[in-house]
Symmetry: D2
Subunit: 344 residues, 4 copies
C-alpha cells in the first residue's frame, strides 16, 4: 500500500480527501493533521466517517515521511514550507492556490503579493488532467485547481481545443456556486438566515481564479462573474463566447464529443427531452464528473457553453486524487467511482 | 403620534419591531439603539428598510423619555436595568425572557440563576394576548413570549380552555423550527453548509420555553422537543395529548372554533382537500397569525393538535406590537395586517 | 371605492393581485374568476388570505361591469376576448404577454404566431412605470410586464438613459430565477425532489421576454440567459455591457442615482461593507422594490449591472397595481408599501 | 457473476437499486423494466448513471430467468404476480409493501383491502436485517421495509431488545421526512413553490408503516406522526417512550452500544460537543447507515430516542441490497460502502 498523509484535514477539502482516500484501494492514510483539532477523531469534524475510520488528527509539526503528501492548508502557507514538505515525500499534491500559476508576475497581479517560493512554480504541474494529463503523469509536484477555474476551463475546452473561437473574443463566464465554496469557517454572510435563499452576485469580476483560465487559454478579454445561490455543493459555469464565422452545430458536436471521449470524467449532456437536458451540479454531489453542454445562436454565432461540477470534487479533492492516480501510474478513475445521487 | 423607542435594534426581533413600527399608523419611532452599530443607518442591518427609513442607531446610554419602550436586548439584561427603563417610559414591552415568569422559583429552576429583580415579576403581564388579553390591556409592563412557548400554548389552548384534557395527562410537544430562532449571531452550527438541509433534534427536552407552558396551564408532565429544519422563519408545534374519555370530534370543533372566534389572529385550518389542509408556517412568514389544526384518533382519544406561527412575529415582535395596541387602547390588529405570502 | 375585478385568480399572479387589492385602500374587489375553482373560497388556493377575505371564485362567463379589470389569464387568451373585456371596464390591466409588444411583427417573431388582435397593440401602454410612466398615466389599457424583461430593462435603464453604452454593443444578461416564475401548474421538472437545489440553465437564449428588452432599448445584440435556482420568489439579472470609452465611476453613480431618485420603487444598493452590499431578491419577497447595483472594470470599461426583483411583484402583480395607481391618479405607491422581510 | 433483474426501474427506489447494483462487485444487472420508458437508456431517468451504464429499460412482459429478482413496482402489484415472479428467480426481494406483514388481518386493517396472495405472506422474511438477520439469511423471499417503519423500529430497537420499556407504555414517534419519500410522481403538493420550505404534519396518525412497527414489537399504544420538511432525502424519527422505573443512563448506553456493535450499519451518535451531536439524515444521503441517539429525562424516565436514515437507502433500496448480500452469503456490507457526504 502506498502511504499518504494530509496536511490540514479539518476543512472541507481535507474532509473530502479523507473520504476518498479512506476507500481508495491503493493507499493507506498515514497521518492527517489539524492544529485546532489535535487528538480528536476525524469523525468529530467529518461525521460521515464515524465508525468507518478510527483515525485521529495529528500534530502538523510532527509529519513523517510518506509516499504522497496532500496539502490542504490555507492559501499562502504551502509556499512558505514547500522545501520542508518536499523533504518528506517524493510526490506532493497541493490543493491551495500557491502553485497553480507558473508565472510569478501573474501570481503577483492576481494575489496582490510577491510569491514566497517563485523557483518552485515551474516544478509544479497544473493539476487539471483534462488540460494537462501528460505533464501530471510525469510530475512529482502537482498543484490543485480553483473550483471556478475548473468549471470555466472545462466549459471553454471543447471550443478552444478545436480552434472555434474568434481571436481576441470577449468571454464572459457566469458562475453560480454553493456555500461550501466558502470553506468551513463561519462568517456573518454564511449565517443560515442570511445565506439561505440568496442569489448574490458577490464578485462581478476580479476573482482570483480568473488567472488560471487566462493561463490555460491566453484569453485577454475575460470576465468571471460569481453568484452565490442556495446549495451546499456545486458550481455551474455558463460561458458566453463569440465563435468564428461559419462554425456550425456539427463542428460543436464534434468538439464536445472529442473532449468527452478523451476524458473519462467528462460527460456531454445535451438532451432534447426529459428533466435533465443540460448539465446540473445537483446530480454531481460527491462525484468527480464534469458535465458539459452547449447551445448555439446560429444567427449570431453566439455560443453558450455550460459546465457543472461538484466544487469540492472535480473542483478540488477529486481532481487531486485523480492527479495522484496519474502520478502513480494507476487507473485514472481509481477510488473516484461514486456517480452522485438521484434524486438529491 | 405616540413616541416609541427600541433598546437593541440590530438583531432579528429588533429588526422586526422596526419594520412593524415604521408602518404603524399610531406611532413614531424616536430612538433605536445599538452599541455595535452606533451611528449606522438601520438599513445597514435591515436591508428591507432601505429608502423607507432614514433612522440611525443611537447610543443605548443616551435614551430619552418616550411613551412606550420596547426592550429587545439579550436575556438577562433587562432585569438589571428595569428600574432605569421604568423611569423613561410609562409603558414597557420587554421581548426578552426576563419577565415572562411570575414565580422567581420557576425562573431560577429553568434559567439556572437567581432573578435580579424578582419584585418586578408580578408587575409584568405575560404578553400573549390569546391567554392574557384583559391583563395586558390594563398593564403598564408586558413581557415578551418565547416563540416555542407561543406555539405550544396555542396548540393546547382550545382543549385546555374547554377542559377536555385528562387530569395529569402526559403532554409531548414536538416543535420544528427555522434558523432565525437562533438569532442574528453566527455560530459554527449556523454556518450554511452545516445548517442547510438539517433535521436536527437539538433539544430533546429541558428547553427553557417549557416553563411558560407550565405557567400557562399547570401541566406536570410536559416535554417540549425541539427539532431544527431547513427554513428561516417559522415554528410548528405538534402536540400529543390524551383527552378525557368520551370527547368527540364535535367537542373539538367547538373548542377550536371558539378560540378562533375570540382571537383575531388565530385561524382554524382543518381542510379535507387542497394543498393547505393543516397549519403551516410557510404561509405565515411576516404575518402575526397563528394557525391551529387538529386530528383525533377516536379509538384511543389521542389528540394531535398543531399550531403554526412565524417565530419572529406571533412568537416575538408581532405579539409585542399586539400587546402595545392593547395597552394603548387601539385596535388589536393595527399595523399587523400583513397576511403572509403565497407562494413563498 | 373603485370597483375592480380579476379574470383568472387561481394562479400565482392572480393570487398576488388578490393580496394587494384586498388591502388597497381605494378599491373594492367585485369579482375574481376561476373556472376550475368556481364557488370555492379564494383562501382554498391562497391560504394566506384565510379569515381575511370571504371572497369566492366566480364564473368567468358572468363578468359584470367594473371600473378596472385585471386580466391574469394564460398567454394567448386575452387577445381573443379583448373586445368583450373592453365593453366591461373603462380601464384594463392585462398581466399576460398579449399586449406588451407594439409591433405585430415583433410579436410574431418571438411568440411564433400571428397576433389575434393586432389593432389593439397600439392602444396598450407597456406597463413598466419606470420607462413609461407618463403614457401609463394617460392610458386606458396597460399591459403587464415579463418578469425577466423587468429585471433586464431596469438593470440597463441607468446606462441607457444616460447614454453611456457603446453603439452596437453586445449585451449579455444572465438571469437567475426562483420556481414561482413557472406558475402554479405542476410539471415533471417542478417536482420538489427534482427542482430542489438546482442550478439549471434552462434557456441559454431565445427567451420570449427578450423582445420586451429589444422594444425598450432597440438593442441588436442581446442575449438573455435564464438559470433556475433554489428559491421560490425572486429574479436577479446580471447584465454585462461594454460602455463607451471614458465613462468613469462618477458617471455611473450619477446615472444610477438619477434612476433611483426618479422612481419611488427603485433603490440603489452598492455598499462597501455589511452582508447586503449588492441587490438580492431574498429581501424583496412580497415587495414592489427593484434594487439596482453595479461594478465597473475600469481597465476594460466592462460594466456589470445588477437588478433584483420579486418576479411576482415588480415583475408582475406589483407593477400592475402600480400602473392602476397611475391610471387612476392615485399615489403611485398606494397599497404597495410592504418592504419585504429580513431575515427571510 | 450473479444475475439480477429489477422489475420497475424508473422510480426512485428502482433508480437507487440501479446505482447500487451497477457498482456491486458480485452481480450483473440482466434486465431492468419500465413500461413507460421502454427502450430508453436508464440515464434518461437517472442522470447520475450517464456514461456509467449503457443499460436500457426493457419490457416487463419479457422478463427472463435470473438468480435474484428485485421488485420495485407500486404497492399492490407484486401480490398479483408473485407466482409468476417466483417462476423466474429462486430469490426475490420485493421492495413494495405487499409482503411486509405476516398476518393477513393486519394487512387488511392497515391497507384497507384483502391481500391477493395471503398464502405467500409467511414465505417472506421481513427485510430489516437489524431485527431479522438470521431469517433473511435463510430466506428465498424477502420483503422490503417501509422507510418510516425502519426509522421507527431502529429508534426503539435498543430499549425493546434490552427490555427497558414499561409494559403497555404509550409510544409516540414523530417522523420528519424529505420529499423523495413521496416517490417520483409529481402532484399538486410536490410542486416546488408549494413544497419548498414546508413544515407540514401531513399524517397525524394512521400511517400504514405503523403496522410494521406493531408487528416488530407488539406495541398496542403507538402513534406515528409524519411531518414533511424541506429536504429531498432523509427521515428522522424522534421517539418518546416511558421507560421502566429505575432505568439509568448506563443501562441505555449499554443497550444502544449493543445494537451498534451487532449491526454493521448502525452507529451510535451521542456527542457532548461539535456540530453533529445527534443523529441527522443530512450526512446520510446515499449511505446505508442508520444513526441512533438518545436522551433521558431522569426525573420522569421519559426517553427521547432518535434515528436518522436515508429513506431511499436504509429505508428502501440499501436494506434490499443488504438483504441480498445476506441471502447470498456475501459480506453484508458489499456494495454499500458509500459513507455519505460532508458537507452536503
Amino acid at each position: 500500500m502506498t502511504k499518504v498523509s494530509i496536511v490540514g484535514g479539518s476543512g472541507y477539502t481535507g474532509g473530502e480527501l479523507l473520504r476518498l482516500l479512506t476507500f481508495h484501494p491503493q493507499v493507506e492514510i498515514h497521518q492527517v493533521t489539524s492544529r485546532a483539532h489535535l487528538g480528536e477523531y476525524i469523525h468529530q469534524m467529518h461525521p460521515n466517517l464515524r465508525k468507518i475510520s478510527q483515525l485521529k488528527f495529528s500534530d502538523p509539526g510532527q509529519l513523517e515521511p510518506v509516499d504522497v503528501l496532500f496539502l490542504a492548508v490555507p492559501h499562502g502557507e504551502a509556499q512558505k514550507k514547500i522545501q520542508e514538505y518536499a523533504g518528506l515525500a517524493g510526490k506532493i499534491v497541493d490543493l491551495s492556490a500557491d502553485f497553480r500559476l507558473r508565472d510569478p508576475a501573474l501570481y503577483e497581479k492576481w494575489y496582490g503579493q510577491v510569491h514566497a517560493a517563485p523557483q518552485w512554480l515551474e516544478k509544479f504541474a497544473y493539476g487539471l488532467p483534462e488540460i494537462n494529463r501528460e505533464a501530471i503523469r510525469k510530475a512529482d509536484y502537482v498543484s490543485g485547481v480553483g473550483c471556478n477555474a475548473t468549471a470555466s476551463i472545462l466549459s471553454l475546452l471543447p471550443v478552444m481545443q478545436a480552434g472555434l473561437v474568434e481571436a481576441g473574443a470577449a468571454v464572459t463566464i457566469e458562475i453560480k456556486v454553493g456555500s461550501s465554496e466558502g470553506g468551513a469557517s463561519v462568517n456573518a454572510g454564511s449565517h443560515h438566515p442570511e445565506r439561505s435563499g440568496v442569489i448574490r452576485t458577490f464578485s462581478p469580476f476580479g476573482h482570483r481564479h480568473t488567472a488560471e483560465v487566462i493561463q490555460a487559454f491566453g484569453l485577454e478579454k475575460l470576465w468571471l462573474t460569481m453568484t452565490a445561490v442556495d446549495l451546499v455543493r456545486g458550481a455551474l459555469a455558463t460561458a458566453h463566447v463569440q465563435l468564428k464565422p461559419g462554425v456550425a452545430m456539427k463542428d460543436l458536436w464534434k468538439a464536445y464529443r472529442a473532449v468527452a471521449q478523451e476524458n473519462p470524467f467528462v460527460r456531454l449532456v445535451n438532451e432534447k427531452r426529459g428533466i435533465y437536458r443540460v448539465p446540473e451540479p445537483k446530480v454531481l454531489a460527491g462525484s468527480n464528473y464534469a458535465d458539459l453542454g452547449f447551445a448555439l445562436d446560429e444567427e449570431s454565432n453566439h455560443l453558450v457553453s455550460i459546465c457543472a461540477i461538484d466544487n469540492l470534487m472535480k473542483g478540488a479533492s477529486g481532481s487531486a486524487v485523480q492527479c495522484m492516480n496519474l502520478m502513480m501510474g494507476w487507473d485514472e478513475m481509481t477510488g473516484l467511482e461514486f456517480p452522485g445521487l438521484h434524486p438529491a
